[in-house]
Symmetry: C2
Subunit: 331 residues, 2 copies
Amino acid sequence: MHDVALVAGVSVKTVSNVINGYPHIRPGTKQRVEEAIDQLGYRVNITARSLRQGRTGMIGLAVPELSLPYFAELAETIIRVAEETGTLVLIEQTNANRAREIEALGSRMRHLTDGLIFSPLALGQEDVDLFAVDFPLVLLGERVFGGPADHVTMDNVAAARAATEHLIARGRRRIAVIGAHPGERVGTAALRVRGYRDAMAAAGIPVDERLVAEAGAWHRSTGDAAMTALLDLGVEIDAVFGLNDAVALGAMHALRLRGLRVPEDVAVIGFDDIEEAAYSAPTLTSVAPGLEQIARTAVAYLRERIDGTAPDAARQMVTDFSIVTRQSTGA
Amino acid sequence: MHDVALVAGVSVKTVSNVINGYPHIRPGTKQRVEEAIDQLGYRVNITARSLRQGRTGMIGLAVPELSLPYFAELAETIIRVAEETGTLVLIEQTNANRAREIEALGSRMRHLTDGLIFSPLALGQEDVDLFAVDFPLVLLGERVFGGPADHVTMDNVAAARAATEHLIARGRRRIAVIGAHPGERVGTAALRVRGYRDAMAAAGIPVDERLVAEAGAWHRSTGDAAMTALLDLGVEIDAVFGLNDAVALGAMHALRLRGLRVPEDVAVIGFDDIEEAAYSAPTLTSVAPGLEQIARTAVAYLRERIDGTAPDAARQMVTDFSIVTRQSTGA
DNA sequence: TTGTAAGCGTTATCAT
DNA sequence: ATGATAACGCTTACAA
């Protein structure tokens, strides 16, 4: 910058003014500076600017793992949306590990990012105080409610209820749930199971507790295993509600191995509407969470916190959902 | 840091020494400093350190899009591996767009990262000069060979040949290829098609050019479309080689719609061995590229360039591959 | 409209 | 073994 000033015959301050679009500059001066910048191939040093301004222009995104399609799609969307305001995204993978999630709230990425979008999977309601941090924070998901940070979530109970009603409307009554977390009060699993129970109760169908199957981590493999265990029980099943698409896809895999047809013998619905759902065999009906809306809201909330234009009180945004009907439930 | 020095009764330099593990410090001094750090909750300001050292401890990763499973898994692995040496990863999505890929080589991320791992999809051999940059760069993939930067690639010709031989060994002769890029000389598609032709020639099977189907972007949707077009031609087909797993999965989807059974009527093999391949219906045989090795090599190469311990000449590493046999070819 | 000077929080140099 | 001081490259008061 010093060199540019020298070449243009101005001071560094004027160079800085030109770079930052300060309006009151004589056109001739501006042009000379810009020529000097081109001539020298000068680029501002973001690190120095960050140090001076106390901001880096980066935000953090803490997710369990990018190899989980939902989080890959979430990251893709957040990076794309953040870029619209010139914000870069630093991704941290927590592996849904408690210690790593706690670390994400105070790690090295702090002081390097202006704020954090955090999707916890191990921390829960009992850890709510950990989210009272002194930097801009937006929480995603359903592990924590009423916490001290902005929160973007969806109405999981209503969405799960709608998913279950979708199955009931197609004549299914022996509906299994895969992915429950027994003992959990809040949290995605608990809320979705509650929605399932609500729908069953409203339809007057008693819930066979054997059909509520646990699966800790929501992967294809755990869905596969849980479904297999369920089939081994020998209980009658005519539908499956996978608490996310991965377990639903794993469950379909297990059903296929047993020679059961989807949807003729067993209808299957998932949750997340990942891209894969549109290409699985059969294609998978799923609850679409509106990723774009989630991402836009989260980035906007965080931006407002960073800029200091947000209200003091923590906000909560409940995003929309819809059901995308595909072959696995008879489309 | 100033405050810590004050509390510990030492100079800032000593605090810095303690933080950076400088060996010649009296144990008592060290302890006082550490206590002061704890007491004040002090954390070093990475931005200031970066400014002073001229390094940020971050590297860039430019990929087409995280919602493509292969690149999500690649990003997952690179982030994990980089973390082992305390390196953070800033991801940039180029959307396989030429302008954005060029920008990735000179964007704002420069000056903010110590180097770049770049997987180009639009730039090719004719752009080789663009890769002669003045910062540490490691290229991934097969778009460019003999360029001025370190390069991690696999032997695509051999791998594609092995994939084709896998099909031939199972008695298939009418083998379609999906995902060709006509007119391309180097580049992933061209190399894999060459491997296919080599295998066919070695087995004495003439190549029916109608079976070499184009698909520009390698998505499930384009694989689906290309397969459908191929079936519309009415040519006989008993196997499909999808040039990546996404097109192979899309092709399986199209086959299914036409009532063709995999593998009985048509065997299918893919490329990349993404996690989904193990759970598709049927499960998909695929060429596994050894992601961990690719990631480790790329990060190590970049690290050595950054540290100045790499040789002057550009290096090229050819990573291993293997074929994972699954149901789609009769496992 | 432009320039001067201070300072962001570190680390490197050089003393001591 | 530790300290004083000068940078790193930029932006922001404030002055002119």
